[in-house]
Amino acid sequence: MMPILSMIVLIPLIFAALALFTKTKEQARVIALAGTVIVLLLTVYMYFNFDSTIADNQFEELAQWVPSLGITYHLGVDGIAMPLILLNAIVLPFLVLFTWNDDRKSPNKFYACILATEGAVIGVFTALDFFLFYIFWELTLVPLFFMVSIWGGPNKHKAAIKFFIYTHVASLVMLLGIFGLYFAAWDMTGTPTLDIPTLISQFQFIESGAAKDMIFLALLFGFIVKIPSFPFHSWQPDAYTEAPTAGSVLFVMLKIGGYGLFKVMLPMLPFTASPNLMITIMAALGSVSVLYGAFLALSQKDLKRMVAYSSVSHMGYVTLGAAGLVSLSVSGAMFQQFSHGLIMSVMFMSCGIIKNTTGTRIINDLGGLAQKMPKLAVIMVMTFMASLGLPGLSGFIAEVSVLAGSFGNLPSYVLIAVSAIVITAAYHLWALQRAMFGVYNEKLGTVVDIDTFQTVSMGVIAILVLYFGLNPSPVLDMMLTNSDNIVSLMAAMGV
Amino acid sequence: MIMMSMDIEAIIYNPLLRGILGLCIMGAVFGGACVAVWFERKLSADVQQRYGPMRVGPHGLLQLVADAIKLFTKEDIIPKNADKLLFVSAPILLMGSVFLMLVAMPFGAIIVDGQSYVIAATEMDISILYIEAMSAISIIGIFMVAYSANNKFSVLGAFRNFARMIGYEVPLGICIVSVAIMAGSLNIVEIAEAQSPLWFIIMQPLGAIVFFIALMADMGRLPFDQNESEEELIAGWMTEYTSMRFGYCFFAEYIHLILGSMLVVLLFLGGWNLPAFLTDITILGIILPTAFFLLKVALVILFIIMIRWAVPRYRIDQVVDLSWKKLLPLSLLNLGWVIGLGLLGVY
């Protein structure tokens, strides 16, 4: 059997190295497209061979690496990781297509960054060894940092540094948590191991309750900053806004925080000394993020910044859903990640196009773009609707499952989140109305509609938003399997 | 018989008595230095076909007394630019250096019943090292003299002294090492006694020559007296000294000469060793070794004085060249020769 997981991790990295050595834009983009398409094909193959009825890790690969420290090369995917890999694999070829005709400095590095990010992110999703997990986790930082600091907007350096320090500190704290877990387990069993499933299963045997809580909180902090959730979100609007369009899309693909929440945190949650406190923390952070992000989005003048804050708001549902601890809410939260990835990538692409054609992203300076750019307008309206949760589009399913599922356990927090729905609808519609409709602002000069490459790439993703809104089961099934598994574990522990 | 040797040992090993013996030796050496001065003047005169000192006493023998009186009654002048403390203490250091050398130096031996008792203030296991070390102190004394006087001639002389010293010290040390290897000891008495069948000058002639030349430089004898070459530097490092202060510097040089000659005798010329049949007779055993030893020392001194008039003075750079480029390799060669002989089992 071929090592398919290693391939989907390594192929983007190898193609990234290849892209670095190209001289022209043409060569670089062909390599990038080839790399992403190969990954997409492999992922699709993997998807069809994936058994969505079991919650176990599949396609496992295991090799010893540093036995004296218990480090292994262990890869595998389960129902939590599979949709996210699929998301990445689908979006990235279209992202390359989207940037097909752009002119920018050093395109070889640009495409190398895209490919490296893809490899690193998929690496995080497939790693079943904490060492490997951490390496890929850190590796995602590097290309994104370059993405912002080379091709970013006017405040790129500040944004890049802010992003780097925030997330790096968070990942170091996470590393502390990993160490704690690692040595606690080493002390108990006498053999070192960094294997994620093994360590998670040994977490419950740690005797000291305080140690358990410390480990849990350290890991939680690392993931929460990455999601990002209030109050650690402040790197995110800057980085999203300053990054180039492709960079923003890559940030949206960076679902590793939420993934960690489901993969690592939830199985450990029932064994902490005070699970209820942890749930409360997560729920509070999630619901406040939803509301707070929505309010801030409402007050933004910059279209891209508004989208960035809306992302904070939407990712709040992930944290909240994870805290809901019902199969419905957990799987809803997982689905929210998936759907959010699709929706947001199109939204950021739209922002990028508007900026490129009109030269501004300030909402008040725009107006009536729909007349000049009808194709863009159609796609934009559709994704904005998906984002605000219109039934029939993928965002609706995710948010409804989260809210409905969590209500039983966390009614007050859900009420906070629900109150945000109105605001969400308000800023989406208001922005759409001011930017796209109404009288055309003549100061913008002549604008042309999106070209074929952009239409195809944005259109396909938008259609996927619609498809998964109508028929979520291709991914929701495997999510449900896993969330059932998690929740049954909770139930067994009486949480 | 046992009682007697016990008594002798009791006397010999009493440190206080030894100290007194040392003081006697000190006096004797002082006297010897005086004689050496007179000797040198007369001999130099002979070489140059003059009479030398003749007026005071028979053949000028009392000239020494006259000189001593003169030194004692001259005014003691300390130049106003001088560093007074150093100026005053430098002669003390010089005298200290030669006297401390003298402490460990054997002045012969008394042989009773085949048992030899060395005439020396003290005996040490490492006396040769000690003597060399004490001898080196005098360099500092000389520099103190020159530096404190604040006179350009003095300082120049002292610097030349340094330059010379750093040349000859190394070959000198290597020659001593060669001798010590052959004797298997660093005790000068044992080294002297190890030469009882064969003098080391026969075993290592090269070493003896190198040692002798280096020693000449050590003592500042012509042709190596660049530090006080009268023609250019007045009196060299001693220029500003008067009265008995000058006398001490002067005496230090002559005592150094005597002690150096003794070293030559002890290390290479067989010391006080005599054939056993001579020393078996008690009275001869008491007198002969010491007498024989002192005679050899006198001959060496004579030889050194004669050289003075046979060889012109080297320039300072020539001295340095000589010691680094000729004496040092030769001394190493000698060391190799000694090691080779030892490995072949010759001694």
């Binding site: 690496w65 540093v66 004296s68 850190e138 590796l139 600091s149 170091l172 704290v173 704690g180 | -």
Partner: protein, 483 residues
């Protein structure tokens, strides 16, 4: 006594003397061969050391011990010496004192190697001084460059002070225990514990080794010396000489004076924290790359010092392993600055600050291989995964947590986060800032040295199992009290 076990040292000595002698009879323009000869000698010595791995022996009346620890560090030193001599080929090009450069480097390495295998304080001290003396002279190798001379002078003064302090400390240890043999001191250390002389000697030895390792507050010389010395020499100093201080301190404190643990453990903890924090914070605002690397070297020494605090097998192994990786990373980084200096000086002979960070502008375009290797080194120093730096930090920091010194680990981890600030600055200058400089051909020996170091950094980072295992074995030698 099997002299074959000393074959690496003998090879080094013979090579050193041969280089010196041959160099004397060669005209200046054909002295290039000396560098190749020296590199060959080091390579042979390295091969001999690797081939003798796993043997254990006591030589010279138990004063020299060959064991896992000594062989580990010998290989560290030989690797650094190899990089030094390869890079030196280019550095000494056209220099009339080529033979001194290599001979001093080789002799310094012999000193370091004997420190690694010392089983007696006498051998340790003599070898320590041999290495120090050679490096004093190397630091002042550019006799016409006031910076180099100043570096040498400062290094010399502080180095001699440290030697004096160390010797006094050793004399007290000897006085109390009546022996200078390291295992015997450990056996007799009850005397030291019960008398104030133990504390005095710990303080003196701590200061003595602290100067060499450049722990704050004994670090004053390090930035100046690393900045002023020729970069290739800085590589030897930071990567070799500093490790020598560490292995000496390991032998003296962890083996000989383990009974006084209570006295020095907390001191090391404080020194480690101050050193890493000071080094990283001050490095942030440096404009000279060499000085920045010097401060980063302080910080790294601070990390390694944590091993003395934790004292578990894992931590000591981590510290030793860190020493290996740091050898590759720091030597590589300094050689990269040497290449940049060469570039700057070949364009403008009178450049006052060839190591200024402005000269790194656009290095990615001007010297792509150098820039790439430098990137690998600084990322490794910062602890980016898959490099030697990450792996060693991983082992060391994790062992710190394991032993319960969570506060120490947290400080260290925060520090390594800070350090990213200045490492990233170098990368930024190399790749993201525009330059009008031309692409130049990269000097071959520097490139070879850089590539070797980079491969080392990546290999240790990726294929760490044998190295970690080996470092653990070396650490176990320490904990069983030598032989």
């Amino acid at each position: 006594m099997d002299m074959m076990l000393l074959a690496p040292e003998i090879t080094m000595a013979v090579t050193g003397l041969a280089v010196l002698l041959i160099g004397l009879f060669l005209p200046t323009d054909s002295k290039k061969i000396l560098g190749y000869l020296a590199s060959l000698g080091v390579l042979v010595a390295l091969g001999l050391t690797i081939s003798s791995l796993g043997t254990e022996a006591l030589l010279f009346y138990n004063t020299v011990s060959i064991d896992a620890l000594s062989q580990f560090f010998k290989i560290v030193f030989l690797v650094v010496a190899l990089l030094f001599s390869i890079a030196g080929i280019k550095y000494t090009e056209g220099h009339s004192h080529t033979e001194e450069f290599f001979t001093l480097g080789l002799f310094g390495t012999i000193g370091m190697m004997f420190v690694a295998s010392a089983n007696d304080l006498m051998v340790l001290f003599v070898a320590f001084e041999l290495a120090s003396l050679a490096t004093y002279a190397l630091a002042g190798f550019e006799k016409k460059n006031i910076k180099s001379l100043e570096a040498a002078m400062k290094y010399f003064i502080i180095g001699s002070l440290s030697a004096a302090l160390m010797l006094l400390g050793i004399s007290y240890v000897y006085g109390a225990t009546g022996t200078t043999s390291i295992p015997e001191i450990a056996a007799n250390s009850a005397v030291l514990v019960s008398s104030p002389i133990g504390l005095v000697s710990v303080v003196l030895l701590l200061a003595g080794f602290g100067f060499k390792i450049a722990l704050v507050p004994f670090h004053m010389w390090a930035p100046d010396t690393y900045q002023g010395s020729p970069s290739v020499v800085s590589a030897l100093l930071a990567a070799g000489s500093k490790k020598m201080g560490i292995v000496a301190a390991l032998k003296v404190f962890v083996v000989a004076l383990i009974a006084l643990k209570a006295d020095w453990q907390i001191a090391f903890a404080i020194l480690a924290v101050i050193t890493m924090t000071y080094g990283n914070v001050v490095a942030l605002r440096q404009t000279s790359v060499k000085r920045m690397l010097a401060y980063s070297s302080l910080a790294q020494a601070g990390y390694i010092t944590m091993a003395f605090v934790v004292l578990t097998p894992l931590a000591l192994g981590g510290g030793i392993f860190y020493a290996l990786s740091h050898g590759f990373m720091k030597a590589g980084a300094f050689i990269a600055t040497a290449a940049v200096t060469y570039m700057v000086l070949s364009e403008n002979k009178d450049s006052a600050d060839p190591d200024h960070i402005e000269n790194f502008r656009g290095l990615g375009k001007r010297m792509p291989i150098t820039a790439l290797c430098m990137t690998i080194f600084v990322f490794a120093l910062a602890g980016i995964p898959l490099t030697a730096g990450f792996m060693s930090k991983f082992v060391l920091f994790s062992s710190t947590i394991e032993a319960g010194f969570v506060w120490l680990a947290v400080i260290a981890i925060l520090n390594s986060a800070i350090s990213l600030g200045y490492y990233a600055k170098i990368v930024k200058y190399m790749y993201f800032l525009p330059t009008d400089g031309e692409k130049i051909s990269e000097p071959f020996p520097y490139t070879i040295a850089l590539i070797i170091a980079a491969i080392g950094v990546l290999a240790i980072g990726f294929w760490s199992q044998p190295f970690v295992h080996w470092a653990m074995e070396a650490a176990s030698v320490l904990l069983t009290g030598g032989m």
